[in-house]
């Protein structure tokens, strides 16, 4: 009876949580990728309605790895609250949604973080007219905070630790946060520093807003998949790693064709000229070549979406390669 039930359960509810996500994606013909409801630089529709951003590129990279086509992806928006149920239920194949890697999410919620595509930390943004220069001066302030996030817990900890009080104004999406902050319903907006830069860039007059120096937490943001489907986890993990390794090896979308005749062995392995890494992942031999060709390496994606030349103006900082003073590091491609 128990067995019958199990079979029924699986067939009736058709959850394919633990096996064969890669096959499901291939059969479906496109990737379903969970992203934010709109955070400029990470995932937001651009002027032509195309999803763009660091996280959007992550989704596209996986789509390219599987299909060799950057357009084979459906972006599904999720809020801070809906993201985990959406992934757990199989509605999306992966999340690339500014999600902080924590032990409870990794272990208790049944997910698997496959890497970090942005090292972030929680900060505070206030109107410069307030004349506040440190987060410790915020005693009694009203703080806009996205519910269901790690930042919500960090916020409570920070104020408790410093013995100052605040009033929380819970909000659901970044847009709501913007609206309340710009209307003065709250004095302070707190979220990941990158998110603050993004919000600031979207303000009518970015000069009127200042991000305070305190970074009160570490927020490693990365893509995640359901726990247990290691094959699929590997595909997403190495799609990310391929972009990082490409930067490390100096392979970019512009020189990738020329690099095919490089004399560096790791470049040849990465581009599928040598070895059979594509086969191991059940992908095409040139999967990484296609990612670099169609999306670019990590640096290209970073500079195009969040870097100093974009409205977000986020310096590489921690997100520079380990060889250049940052902590971005991918295991070797061999």
């Amino acid at each position: 009876m128990k067995k019958l039930l199990s079979i029924l359960a699986v067939s009736v509810f058709a959850f394919s949580a633990n096996a064969g996500t890669l096959d499901d994606v291939k059969n479906r013909g496109f990737l379903k990728c969970g992203v934010t409801t709109g955070l400029a630089g990470f995932a937001a529709p651009d002027d032509s309605g195309e999803w763009a951003g660091l996280d959007a590129d992550m989704c596209r990279a996986v789509a390219v790895a599987v299909f060799g086509d950057r357009s084979k992806v459906e972006f599904i928006t999720t809020t801070g609250k809906s993201r985990f149920p959406t992934l757990a239920s199989g509605e999306v194949d992966m999340l690339a949604r500014n999600t902080t890697w924590t032990i409870s999410r990794d272990v208790n919620l049944g997910f698997e973080f496959v890497g970090v595509n942005f090292y972030d930390g929680q900060g505070f943004m206030v109107p410069s007219a307030l004349g506040v220069s440190s987060a410790k001066e915020l005693d009694g302030a009203t703080v806009c905070i996205q519910t269901g996030t790690t930042t919500e817990l960090n916020l409570a900890d920070f104020f408790r630790l410093n013995g100052i009080s605040y009033e929380a104004l819970p909000i659901e999406t970044n847009d709501e946060g913007k609206e309340n902050l710009f209307a003065g319903r709250c004095d302070v907006y707190t979220t990941d520093a990158s998110g603050l830069s993004s919000t600031r860039a979207a303000a009518a007059d970015p000069g009127k807003w200042v991000v305070l120096p305190e970074i009160i937490s570490k927020e490693p943001l990365g893509p995640l998949v359901r726990h247990g489907d290691h094959q699929w986890g590997d595909v997403v993990r190495w799609s990310l790693n391929a972009m990082i390794i490409a930067e490390e090896l100096g392979v970019s979308s512009e020189n990738v064709d020329a690099q095919k005749s490089s004399n560096v062995p790791e470049v040849l392995r990465l581009l599928g000229v040598e070895g059979s890494y594509g086969e191991m992942l059940e992908l095409a031999p040139d999967w990484a070549y296609q990612i670099i060709k169609q999306i670019g390496n990590y640096s290209e994606s970073y500079e195009a979406n969040v870097g100093p030349d974009t409205p977000l103006e986020i310096a590489r900082g921690l997100n520079a390669l380990w060889t250049q003073g940052g902590i971005l590091y991918a295991p070797p491609f061999r």
């Binding site: 049944g110 009694g140 003065g184």
Partner: protein
């Protein structure tokens, strides 16, 4: 075979058989759902259980008028804060919606052309626009109020800004409890007075000014005592300190938006219920009472409304239930109700979705059933009593 056929031709047996079958299938269905859920949770390594209820919440809730909530309190405390906030907005909403609904319902039957049109437009507009949009509309209006530093001031003690309405908070000092006791006693004696007056009127036909004397008793007796005891009441006034007002009481825009939207939306439905109730009383009743020489307001109060109530109360109950359940939309504007706090933040921080939802649903069920019970008791009390 034959006996079988006989059984099925027996209406009573057939009905019992099919009812048992339906119940059995339903139970089986539930069993499958529970089993499947448990199976899938286990397969995905999602821990289940109720232990998280006693874990510290770790986040803050700023709208908690009844409980002093800190981030070190447990998820269970989050639950209680949520329940109280849900009850608060539902209770205020039900009362205000009833008053507004009755008013609009009666206005729509009046002979004033302009008022009737205005009421008609109000009803048709509000009940045909989704409630969620109305909540968001009210909130959007409220956060466009002046910023906290430019608050509108009234008498230097009331401050209105987009952070809410700040007013003085009463502090009850020694002796105020006597005033309160006097108030309660006055309330009770008013009830006794009313019963006595009614009995006397039934027996002798003599009337007694119950309303005015009751009001006098309820207001003046405690007031007199209050001054005799030397005004044992002071106020804590709000004052702008740093980022926000400190002290006093505050009504948050989130609450106001919820309250306004729920009241205005539900009152539109209640007004239609009231209108249909009044129209259900036959014209002859009105004419008969008019021919007895009753005043117009008496006809409404003594003849029409009591009969209309029999038609009004059952649908009114469902409007109360709707309002209470609709208060769960508070999440749209960050009102810290049950769904937002416990069913939202706690759920999300702990990942215990099923447990949280079961608790939230059971709570709404309990609240709704309680409302139904009381409304049913009231309904029975206003039904025709055969004498």
């Amino acid at each position: 075979m034959r006996s079988n056929a006989n059984f099925f031709s027996d209406e009573k047996f057939r009905s019992i058989f099919f009812q048992t079958l339906v119940i059995g299938l339903f139970a089986l269905g539930i069993y499958f759902v529970v089993q499947t859920t448990a199976y899938n949770l286990e397969k995905r390594n999602i821990a289940t259980g109720w232990r998280f209820l006693t874990d510290p919440a770790g986040f803050d809730i700023s709208f908690s008028p009844f409980i002093n909530f800190k981030s070190t309190d447990t998820h269970l405390d989050v639950y209680f804060v949520g329940v109280l906030n849900t009850l608060l907005v539902s209770f205020c909403g039900c009362i205000a919606a009833t008053i507004l609904g009755f008013l609009v319902g009666i206005i729509r039957l009046s002979s004033n052309w302009l008022l009737v049109r205005v009421a008609y437009i109000y009803v048709e507009f509000t009940r045909n626009v989704p409630l969620l949009l109305q909540i968001i509309l009210w909130y959007s209006i409220l956060i466009q109020l002046p910023r906290v530093k430019q608050s509108l001031e009234f008498l230097d003690i009331f401050f209105i800004s987009n952070r809410g309405i700040y007013s003085p908070r009463p502090i009850f000092e020694n002796g105020f409890s006597y005033v309160f006791i006097a108030f309660v006693l006055a309330l009770i004696s008013s009830f006794i007075l009313r019963r006595w007056a009614k009995k006397r009127q039934d027996n002798t036909g003599k009337q007694f000014p119950v309303t005015s004397s009751a009001f006098g008793m309820i207001i003046f007796v405690p007031l007199l005592l209050f001054f005799i005891l030397g005004s044992p009441l002071s106020f804590d006034y709000p004052a702008l300190k740093g980022f926000n007002f400190k002290g006093g009481m505050v009504i948050r825009p989130e609450f106001i938006a919820m309250f306004l939207a729920l009241t205005i939306y539900t009152a539109a439905f209640i007004s239609e219920t009231v209108r249909s109730g009044i129209l259900s009383v036959t014209k002859g009743q009105r004419e008969a009472s008019a021919s007895l020489g009753l005043k117009k307001s008496w006809i409404m109060r003594l003849i029409i409304i009591p009969q209309a109530l029999r038609v009004i109360v059952p649908p009114l109950t469902s409007q109360y239930l709707n309002l209470t359940k609709n208060s769960s939309l508070g999440i749209a504007v960050g009102y810290a109700d049950l769904v937002h706090g416990f069913g939202g933040i706690s759920l999300n921080q702990t990942g215990q979705a099923i447990e949280c939802m079961v608790i939230v649903m059971a709570t709404y069920l309990t609240i709704s059933l309680t409302i139904s019970v009381f409304m049913n008791i009231y309904n029975r009390s206003i039904q025709f009593k055969e004498k």
